[in-house]
């Protein structure tokens, strides 16, 4: 039996050595971590190893199962959330992003990356084949949409897809069908002279009436001063073009209104002349000039023109719940266009057709195609 416990307490010297070792790790580690976190990288494998400054891209991709490609290479395991990816350690310069998914339209954007700055982008992917939900006056007991007085060969929405079974009947007898209460509501949304007194009715009536222009010369003048407001953004028509304007505080301005400051020499190359032109104009928004919307770190515009693909715009509205996307009713159909114009504005067809009308109610987009009503769906049906 030993005269004293075999396990001696930790000696002071041993503890002190360990303490100073950790202090050393701390002193070396903090600058390294700070440098890394701020975007500095040391390229050990370069011919002349040196410290370089890198930037990043933050891409939100709402579509399920979407794949993100950067400069034609797939980006994997970089999602910080289910629907967003953060790509770091990027060499400053232009980088091309693809976001694609089976059955969905591809979103492509070429964006500049600046050192120590993260360039944000928000992708969207609508179905390649328009997805619709027909809204008919009558439905069957089993839920089929009934088209009365229509031959089965003449059913509407031939170019679109729907999961709702359609039933065409050449007779006008409706006694064996059920009245669809939604039809009456949707019909009222599109009524030109609404008698609806409810809040939704007024809002929809306002949307339909206030933002129609271009193809109806009689209303264009009156609509020149009209606008749609969503949070601190407004959509308005000016000189035959649709603009998105920002009216809120600078601190909260959406990223796509701004570019990093100090990049003026290369602004044209990185973003295009349209950005340079807009930045150089002193555009009055909310009684402030462009210069007042800027600060030391970035330069911000207050208006962005929405691409109308050289077509006349009959209606426009904010995409439901989004401050990034705009619904544009053009001559060949209903398009969704992104406001972000730092590179080309992605435009995706929601529903093809002519003489269409759109109404937005809550989170739903309704379209009137001739005598027919439908809801345009923005996602593929679940398999």
């Amino acid at each position: 039996m030993p005269a004293s416990p075999e396990v001696e307490p930790l000696s002071y010297n041993r503890r002190r050595r360990f303490f100073w070792l950790l202090c050393l790790v701390f002193l070396v580690g903090v600058p390294m971590f700070v440098f890394y976190a701020t975007g500095y990288r040391y390229d050990f494998f370069a011919e002349q190893p040196a410290i370089t400054t890198t930037g990043g891209l933050y891409v939100s991709a709402e579509a399920e199962n979407s794949e993100i490609y950067l400069d034609e290479e797939e980006v994997k395991n970089l999602r910080v959330f289910r629907n967003a990816a953060y790509i770091q350690s990027l060499v400053p310069g232009l980088h091309r992003l693809h976001v694609q998914a089976p059955g969905l339209q591809t979103w492509v954007k070429e964006l500049p990356v600046h050192g120590q700055i993260v360039t944000e982008a928000s992708s969207f992917n609508l179905p390649e084949v328009s997805q619709v939900r027909p809204i008919t006056e009558y439905v069957t007991v089993s839920g089929e949409a009934v088209y009365v007085g229509v031959a089965s060969t003449s059913l509407p929405f031939q170019a679109a897809s729907t999961t709702i079974p359609l039933l065409a009947t050449s007779t006008t007898a409706t006694s064996s069908f059920l009245l669809n209460p939604e039809f009456e509501f949707i019909e009222s949304l599109f009524a030109t002279t609404s008698t609806t007194t409810g809040l939704v009715g007024r809002v929809i009536e306002g949307v339909v009436e206030a933002f129609r222009f271009s193809s109806e010369a009689t209303t264009t003048t009156a609509l020149a001063t009209s606008s749609i407001v969503f949070e601190d953004l407004k959509l308005f028509e000016k000189d035959g073009e649709v603009y998105a304007g920002y009216t809120g505080a600078l601190e909260d301005i959406p990223y796509y209104f701004c570019i990093p400051f100090g990049q003026n020499a290369s602004t044209s190359a990185l973003y295009g002349d349209h950005i340079v032109a807009l930045l150089s104009e002193a555009v009055e928004v909310a009684e402030r000039s462009v210069n007042e919307l800027s600060n030391e770190e970035r330069l911000c515009r207050s208006e962005i023109r929405i691409d109308r693909k050289w077509q006349a715009v009959s209606q426009f509205a904010f995409y439901p719940g989004s401050s990034d996307l705009v619904i544009m009713v053009l001559e060949d159909g209903v398009h969704i266009v992104e406001i972000d114009d730092r590179a080309w504005q992605n435009t995706q067809m929601l529903y093809a057709g002519t003489d269409l009308e759109v109404a937005v109610d809550g989170g739903q987009i309704f379209i009137k195609d001739g005598p027919y009503y439908l809801e345009a769906l923005t996602e593929l049906p679940e398999a």
Binding site: P9, L10, A37
Partner: protein, 518 residues
């Protein structure tokens, strides 16, 4: 003055046992009040400062957060290193035959006074504790047990005390039941006043009449739920006999809150075991130790300072600071690395358990009143070396400051620059990398929790038959609760306690209710 003649010179000062600023006058009172404000002010300034920094200088805040996260990883490594080592030592000490180890010493002249203050704890708890003393591997005829009841606990406490005396008196050299009178002017109802009364009672009724010398008497004070291991007294004797200055030392066992580990809820187990681990870490760096909960010290040392303070809450630590200050800094805490078992919080309902844990930890963290006491007396007692005053003062300040601020900064305010910073900050790589980097560093720090989880499994008592084996898995995984428990049961009660002291809303002694299911 005559009644203070036995006290050490410094302990004869009127302000030696000051409990709060209101007990002083003039500039001393103002200075003491300033010191009472200081810890809360420092903690609040830090927390609010991090928020303001995040708003107005988010880049600096982000650098600070990165540095702090790395500091936390290294601190975890540092503490885990100490914890693992002490665990090794603790297990070895449990395995040793201490009776054999002390055979080489002559210790027959030494007596043990065991003080067990209690209030309204159930009979089963007291019985369990006394049974463990009766089972100790030691000559129990040299053990004097003092069951210290409270008058304010009523007749029931007296009945229990007498019943216990009847049952256990024959086991020990002497068994004394004392009853601390209620409403003594200048006293705070609590463990300190009861223990001090019991110590004086044992002096006048046992030690003096039997001619037992104070320097031959070791006093062990325990919470009433403390169950000792068989070799506690042997281990204590070994450390007493081998201490460089035994009469100028306190002896600190490791309190393991595992008596009711199989009945307590997971959150209570984590909090209790965290407290144990902290004590184990401290055992490996005794220069930072003060006594906590159960501890032992010579009667002579106690008598020279007039026993425990009876006018404050955290008497278990204060007694060490009393001794240290009165002995001009020349007083040690000797870590025994030998366990005593105590109860984890377990009330009849889960909610009441949470409330109990919170209140108990608020009381413990109200130990910040000791910081005030230390700094005050460090400015008065110049016989304590300047180096010691500075080192101890800074250690204590850092301890109370980090207890409150570190968990909140790490797990909550660490994200403040991201939420509060300007858009200029939000568009930077730093803003995006900050949460990723901090997350990764915290994952590395989780290694400390793995160490904790493994060690905790070795410290739990044998599984009762009626408990499922799956409980072991729960007990291993329960450590993921640590980030929450650190904030809810450490930082917030600590901030609560410091704020009360800062505002002069002094706390009283809150007795943790003890209940046993089995």
């Amino acid at each position: 003055m005559e009644e203070k003649a036995h006290l050490l010179e410094y302990a004869q000062r009127e302000d030696f046992k000051v409990g709060r600023a209101t007990e002083l006058a003039g500039s001393d009172r103002r200075f003491y009040r300033f010191l009472e404000i200081l810890p809360g002010l420092a903690s609040w300034t830090t927390l609010i400062g991090v928020i303001l920094l995040s708003i107005y200088a988010p880049f600096f805040a982000a650098y600070f957060v990165i540095a702090f996260a790395l500091y936390w990883v290294l601190k975890t490594a540092f503490l885990s290193y100490h914890l693992r080592y002490n665990w090794k030592r603790l297990r070895h000490h449990i395995s040793l035959d201490w009776q054999q180890l002390i055979e080489r010493f002559s210790y027959d002249h030494l007596y043990h006074v065991v003080i067990l203050p209690f209030y309204k704890e159930p009979e089963s708890v007291i019985d369990n504790t006394l049974a463990s003393f009766a089972a100790a591997r030691y000559d129990k005829k040299s053990i004097i047990v003092v069951l210290a009841a409270e008058e304010r606990a009523g007749e029931e406490a007296q009945v229990i005390a007498n019943k216990m005396k009847e049952k256990y008196a024959k086991e020990f050299g002497s068994f004394l039941v004392t009853t601390h009178p209620q409403d003594v002017p200048g006293e705070m109802a609590g463990k300190g006043s009861n223990a001090a009364y019991a110590a004086e009672e044992v002096r006048t009724k046992i030690l003096d009449p039997h001619g037992i010398r104070y320097n031959h008497t070791l006093v062990s004070i325990f919470d009433i739920d403390t169950v000792i291991y068989p070799d506690y007294f042997n281990c204590l004797i070994w450390h007493f006999m081998t201490a460089p200055r035994p009469l100028k030392s306190s002896f600190q066992p490791v309190p393991i809150f595992n008596n009711n580990m199989w009945d307590a809820p997971a959150i209570s187990r984590v909090v209790a075991m965290s407290s144990t681990f902290w004590e184990m870490v401290q055992q490996e760096r005794p220069e930072r130790m003060a006594t906590f909960s159960s501890h032992a010290v010579s009667f002579k040392a106690l008598y020279e300072i007039g026993y425990w303070q009876s006018n404050m809450v955290s008497e278990d630590s204060r007694i060490y600071w009393n001794l240290m200050v009165a002995n001009d800094g020349e007083f040690d805490v000797i870590p025994m690395s030998y366990p005593v078992s105590m109860d984890a919080n377990a009330a009849p309902t889960f909610w009441r358990t949470l409330v109990q844990i919170y209140k108990q930890h608020r009381r413990w963290t109200y130990g910040v009143e000791n910081f005030v006491y230390i700094i005050y007396h460090f400015t008065k007692n110049k016989n304590i070396s300047l180096k010691k005053r500075i080192v101890v003062g800074l250690q204590q300040a850092e301890g109370y400051w980090s207890l409150v601020t570190n968990p909140i900064m790490l797990f909550i305010l660490g994200w403040a620059p991201i939420f509060l910073g300007s858009q200029e900050f939000h568009q930077t790589v730093l803003s995006y990398n900050l949460p990723i980097l901090v997350r990764d560093l915290l994952i590395v720090a989780m290694f400390g929790l793995v160490v904790s989880s493994i060690i905790s499994l070795t410290l739990i008592p044998p599984r009762p038959e009626e408990k499922s084996k799956l409980r072991y898995i729960v007990m291993a995984v329960q450590w993921i609760l640590v980030p929450a428990t650190m904030i809810i049961f450490s930082a917030i009660p600590g901030l609560d306690a410091q704020t009360r002291l800062m505002l002069g809303r002094y706390m009283g002694f809150w007795v943790t209710p003890k209940t046993r299911q089995s």
